[in-house]
Amino acid sequence: MPIKRTVEKTVLTGFVIVLALFGIVGVVSQRTIVGLVEDNQWVTHTHMVLELLQRVSFDVTQAEASVRGFVITGNDNFETQYHAAKDLIEPLLSDLRLQTSDNPAEQKSIAALESLIRERFAVMDQGIQTRKNGGLNAVLALRNNRGLVLSAQISTLIAQMRSQENRLLAERNLRARQSERRAFVVVLLAVFLAMIAVMGSVFLVFRDLTRRRQIERMKSEFVSVVSHELRTPLTSIHGSLTLLASGLLGPTTEKGNRMLEIAVTNTDRLIRLLNDILDVEKLDSGSMEIRRRLCNGGELIRNAADVMRPMAQKHGITLDVGESETAIWADPDRLAQCLTNLLSNAIKFSDAGGRVRVRAVPTAAELRFEVSDEGRGIPWSKQSSIFERFHQVDASDSRKKGGTGLGLAISRSIVQQHGGRIWVESELGKGSTFFFTVPFRKVEPTNGTQSNTNQSATTDSRRERNAETHPADR
């Protein structure tokens, strides 16, 4: 059905669009979030460099204070303090070098800072040594202000570097905030787009489904109206021809009778086709009801055989009806339709003098109906396709045998609606056996009034169905 394809195409297109959107959203979100994380890492990194610079500055000041204390007091504790500060400065500087390895300008500043600090410590070492050798006076006699100059240079350089880092921090903070905002907008936009895509696909699918349902309803109405409109003239044609052919209205010539017979046979075929098309429509639209009640399998095959006996006699076929009294829970009218379909085929495809058997065999879980003939058989390649609509073993069969090509398709649907299976076993030149099964089910309890109503309803509908299915046999 082209409509079905449209729905599938819409679903697929919608799915692909949504998937693509989610893919794009994923990639963009991932990149935005990675950027956000990087920006934040840079902010943390700047904070670390700032802290290291502060510690270097503190350490140098600490060393200077210890040297001053030692020079003035000569107390060894101050010397120990000085050496502790001196030992600390090297790891701090190497850490700083590592943290700024990405920034050549900073590396240059750190190299300058290192050499200043080294020189400053050399001056301080010299001061300590002079104090030890010549006492406080020897230190005072040095009159050296190199230390002061170096100290001022170190402070200035660290201040410069800190201000440089602070500027970087401000920049990086700004960038991080921008990234956050961008990430938020990107994700929001992506979610919004994906929602629109999902809603769009759902809308398209619903529209297609509505259109499809509308077309199906129109088709159903069309079939119903056409069938009614065809039935009315067919009723007049069929009635007049049958009355004429009966001879009740006066004698006709032999050739005239033959013509009437052809007309009656073909009108019957048209009526059968019309009924089958209506059944197929009902099966398609799901409006064919299965009205189950308790029925007797043996009675079903006997009734079907009774209905088909006139046709069998006309074709010179013997009907062999098996004995069975097994009860099943099924729609007797629909099963009768299956059985008469299969019997009608078996009779049509048997040679005169042949035998057609119908049986109902109970197995463990189901009742198996069998209709077998001694006809020409069905080639292996056609054994499953004959259950499809308008598929016959030989394309000319519908003309020669007066079939509609729908009987087996309808039978298969009916059997499937009962939860059973239908199949054929056949050997070319020896005959065919058609099987269908109806599973045993627990009988649903109904109260007396209801089952009475059902009984009369089915009797009425069977009367009607027989009239419509086999007008020629009545």
Binding site: S224, H228, T232, P233, G239, I271, N275, A467, E468
Partner: protein, 129 residues
């Protein structure tokens, strides 16, 4: 026993075929009406043994005609059989509620029509002498 049937159908050809069938095959007497309104008038005047009533008719359709026949004391007890070209079960259910004695599907077989009517109404099968 000669039965008297009132046939109500808007299709003239079908009226003729049904009349000819019942008259020739069973020897019954048939009165025909082309509309529900005409049918009700004829039913009151002629008091037939049964009414064969078409379902789909322009204007007053089968079920409406049946309701009017039932509401009139004179015609209330005449059995009515619907003639219908619509065979869907949903249609049958709708008609069943209207109080008809049964249904006959179009196209019918003119050779067995009288017997089917008799069967629905519980009459002895009649054949022309």
């Amino acid at each position: 026993m000669q039965r008297h049937i009132l046939l109500i159908d808007d299709e003239e050809d079908i009226r003729e075929v049904v009349a000819l069938s019942l008259e020739t095959v069973a020897g019954w007497r048939v009165t025909s009406a082309g509309s529900g309104r005409e049918g009700i008038e004829l039913a009151r005047k002629a008091m037939p043994d049964a009414v064969l009533l078409d379902v789909m008719m322009p204007g007053q359709d089968g079920p409406a005609t049946l309701r009017l026949l039932r509401s009139d004391e004179i015609t209330a007890r005449i059995p009515v059989i619907f003639l219908t070209a619509k065979v869907q079960s949903i249609e049958r259910e709708r008609l069943q509620g209207a109080g008809a004695a049964g249904f006959l599907a179009k196209p019918f077989n003119p050779m067995t029509l009288a017997n089917e009517v008799s069967e629905i109404l519980g009459w002895q099968p009649s054949a022309k002498e």
